[in-house]
């Protein structure tokens, strides 16, 4: 009996060690596989960007393999000295700066109305606002172009900034509304009792609580306006009012295929600010998307 017990006691230990070792081995193999997969996918996805960076340091007309013969800083020098990209950069910065401030504020203001106040017609208005998301941009651009040209707003930053004053975008209002609705009402009730009117309550109580979404909307405003291409293409026609995206486009049209490396440099340059922004606000972006999806 005692022998049996000892044998019985021994076997589980031995089996455990083996199991653990093979489990560990399986885990290591799994880890290796995972790293390999991650690296392969990364190489695949990053490859174009790397090509762009390499090309930006090369002279035109040489294939990638000949990098050592053809390396040059000329493209980058041309980028900064040639006025073709500096003024558009300035224009783009102005537009983006204005929108990054205006869009979160405007959309949170309107969303506050839909989330916290009661007025007849609120639901209808909200539905009508959401419906505008279905309207294709092409429909909007034609008459607005004619309107702006009659107002003389073409070739200025106004067409790209003023419309965003009026609500800041349906999707942003939607996001804010979702978020504000999920905030506890107690703080605002307290403020109401203290005699604060709606505007005060919005500015002092709700807005600070919305920080995550504010950042999310601001970041989106940044990326959307920084890379926006069709709208500036239509509304800005004279050379001194181009945005960066349009400047790069105009220098692409009709130029021979072998003369593109300056544009590669411009492209790298144009990708850097959004990359930095994403780096800083990564977590925010992922969290912000959840808010929109809760109600679908």
């Amino acid at each position: 009996m005692e022998q049996n017990l000892s044998i019985a006691r021994n076997i589980p230990v031995a089996v455990n060690e083996d199991k653990m070792r093979s489990a560990r081995r399986k885990r290591t193999v799994l880890k290796i596989v995972q790293y390999v997969v991650l690296t392969l996918v990364t190489v695949f996805l990053i490859f174009p960007f790397v090509v762009m960076v390499i090309r930006s340091f090369m002279r035109d007309g040489y294939s990638l393999m000949e990098f050592s013969q053809a390396s040059t800083l000329k493209n980058w020098k041309d980028l900064f000295s040639d006025g073709a990209y500096m003024t558009p950069l300035l224009k783009t910065v102005i537009i983006v700066a204005v929108n990054v401030v205006v869009m979160p504020l405007a959309s949170s203001l309107c969303a506050y109305s839909f989330a916290r106040t009661k007025w007849k017609g609120k639901e209808l208005t909200f539905a009508l606002m959401l419906a505008t998301m279905m309207i294709p941009a092409s429909i909007v651009q034609l008459p607005l172009y004619v309107l702006f040209s009659k107002l003389g707003w073409l070739n200025s930053v106004l067409p790209l900034t003023v419309p965003n004053l009026f609500g800041g975008g349906a999707i942003n209002i939607f996001l804010f509304r979702q978020y504000i609705r999920s905030l506890p009402k107690e703080l605002e009730e307290a403020a109401k009792i203290d005699g604060a009117n709606a505007l005060r309550r919005y500015a002092r109580v709700t807005l600070p609580l919305c920080k995550p979404i504010l950042i999310f909307v601001a970041v989106n405003a940044f990326t959307a306006n920084w890379s926006d291409f069709m709208s500036p293409l239509i509304y800005m026609t004279s050379e001194d009012s181009y945005t960066l995206a349009v400047a790069i486009y105009q220098n692409t049209v009709g130029v021979r295929a072998s003369a593109i490396n300056v544009r590669m440099a411009a492209g790298v340059f144009m990708s850097v600010p959004p990359a930095i922004i994403f780096l800083l606000f990564q977590k925010n972006l992922i969290d912000g998307l959840t808010v929109g999806a809760v109600k679908g």
Binding site: G61, K120, T125, L147, S149, K150, L154, D240, R256
Partner: protein, 488 residues
């Protein structure tokens, strides 16, 4: 609920109608214009001390800025108190000008090319019609149309034979730019003489012979390097070839008449360039890269000085670097090859148009008049771009004292730009034989010109690329033309 909806709806409609009214009420009629949108009074006498501002828009490419600056400076020597304000645009001309017109910020004068001018001519009150001014000046004895190449003046007219709406600043004839350095390299290698076979007035057969000789050289023998940048897409290249084969686009009743044996031959003419390897297929994205110093021939109307500058840039840090002084070692120009039995060469035309609603149309005309004088034409050459003057009496480029376009380029065969195009004959008349304008669309109307041309460009390039049959491209062309003519 229903009441709320209708209240909202009524509000919306109110705002809407306000908006629509808003946009409509900006139309203010200019009292200086008659019902055709042209100035009421044609004034050709302008006080030289007048104080005014002229806004001139130029297309921001190549050296247009230098040209218009030079013209402005020369103009200011005559009209001392006039300020000339220069503005750049960087889009298709018709596009850019239409946008400026809609924004009510039209310049008084703007640079244009002949086809953009045709497109813009569809809008009443946009283009200033210079014909009444010209007629008045002729009556007063201050102007003579015979001084100018008829073909190029016509390129500035609506339909190329009507109202003069654009004043051509130069006679941009299509020529064949040559890279002599590459030819000499092949000559050294094969021992055969090639350069002597190239001369003004050479035919397509001679051109092909030269090309074949060049292809014996190692540089061009294998695939990958091409001899010719043919600009097949461009109407100034395909139209003269079509015409020289006798192609008829529309018959006199306006019916499509392009399906013919002559058309097939003309198309095969272009396909030959590609199939023989002289020219890269237009759809392959490759080219002979003449402007990078890698190709031998380039069919274009660009001024010699510009091509030389481009080649200097291309060869800058290599053993073949050269300067303007010894440019004739590396570069030359010759007439575009022609068909032996029906020689025709095309031209582009760029020039300046005036705005009919300008505050000072008389001054606009004075600017154009200055442009057409010897001083004006020399001013263009002085800016560093030696386009051919549109004045016949300036064709002699060797007389660089009086005709600045030859200054510094006496060793270049600038004769190619004027060969058989306005040269003075013994009987005192001017030879205009070889000039050929793209005006087949007149039977249909100027406003279709651009779309019809686009159809033919696709017609030629897709056939030359070799992937489609004649019937396919003809079908596509007919459908494109049909759609273009039915647009409203």
């Amino acid at each position: 609920m229903l009441k709320r909806m209708s209240a909202f709806g009524a509000c919306a409609l109110l705002v809407l109608s306000v908006m629509l009214g808003f946009t409509a009420c900006f139309e203010v009629d200019n009292p200086n214009l008659d019902e055709n949108g042209q100035p009421n009074q044609i004034v050709t006498e302008v006080d030289y001390d007048i104080t005014a501002t002229l806004k001139v828009a130029y297309k921001s490419e190549n050296s247009e800025k230098a040209i218009v600056q030079s013209l402005a400076d020369g103009f200011k020597k005559i009209f001392k108190n006039v300020t000339v304000e220069l503005v750049a645009y960087n889009d298709g001309t018709a596009n850019a000008i239409t946008k400026l017109y809609n924004a009510k910020t039209m310049p008084d004068i703007f640079m244009s090319d002949s086809f953009s001018m045709l497109t813009l001519s569809a809008t009443k009150g946009l283009l200033l019609n210079f014909t009444p001014y010209i007629e008045q000046e002729i009556e007063a004895g201050n102007f003579a149309l015979e001084d100018y190449y008829d073909a190029y003046m016509r390129l500035g007219q609506i339909g190329f034979n009507g109202a003069q709406c654009m004043i051509p600043r130069s006679a941009d004839r299509v020529v064949c730019h040559i890279n002599k350095k590459l030819i000499r390299e092949v000559e050294e290698e094969t021992g055969k003489d090639i350069l002597s076979k190239i001369h003004n007035g050479w035919t397509w057969e001679e051109f092909y012979e030269v090309c074949d000789l060049l292809k014996e050289g190692s540089t061009f023998k294998k695939g990958g390097r091409f001899l010719l940048d043919g600009e097949i897409k461009w109407e100034a290249v395909w139209n003269p070839v079509f015409k020289s084969y006798g192609v008829e686009y529309f018959d006199k009743d306006g019916n499509v008449a392009i399906d013919s044996e002559a058309t097939k031959q003309a198309l095969d003419h272009f396909k030959y360039w590609v199939s023989q390897g002289y020219c890269a297929s237009p759809t392959s994205g490759m080219s002979a890269d003449f402007e990078y110093g890698k190709g031998v021939f380039y069919f274009n109307s660009m001024a010699a000085s510009q091509e030389i500058k481009t080649l200097i840039e291309a060869y800058k840090d290599t053993d073949d670097a050269f300067t303007v002084e010894n440019a004739s070692n590396t570069y030359d120009v010759v007439t575009m090859p022609v068909k032996a039995d029906n020689p025709l060469i095309g031209a582009g035309a760029a020039g300046y148009c005036g705005y009919a609603g300008s505050e000072n149309p008389a001054l606009v005309w004075q600017f154009m008049k200055y442009l057409l004088t010897k001083d004006g034409q020399n001013a263009i050459a002085d800016s560093g771009v030696n386009y051919v003057p549109v004045r016949k009496d300036m064709a002699d480029y060797t007389d660089s004292e009086n005709n600045h376009w030859g200054k510094g380029y006496e060793n270049i065969n600038l004769q190619a730009y004027v060969y058989k195009s306005g040269e003075l004959l013994e009987d005192g008349s001017y030879n205009d034989d070889w000039n050929c304008n793209t005006d087949y669309f007149n039977v249909k109307g100027s406003k279709y010109a651009v779309d019809l041309n686009a159809g033919v460009s696709t017609f030629v390039t897709s056939y030359a690329a070799g992937s489609k049959s004649y019937d396919t491209v003809l079908n596509t062309l007919k459908k494109t033309w049909d759609a273009a003519l039915k647009k409203r």
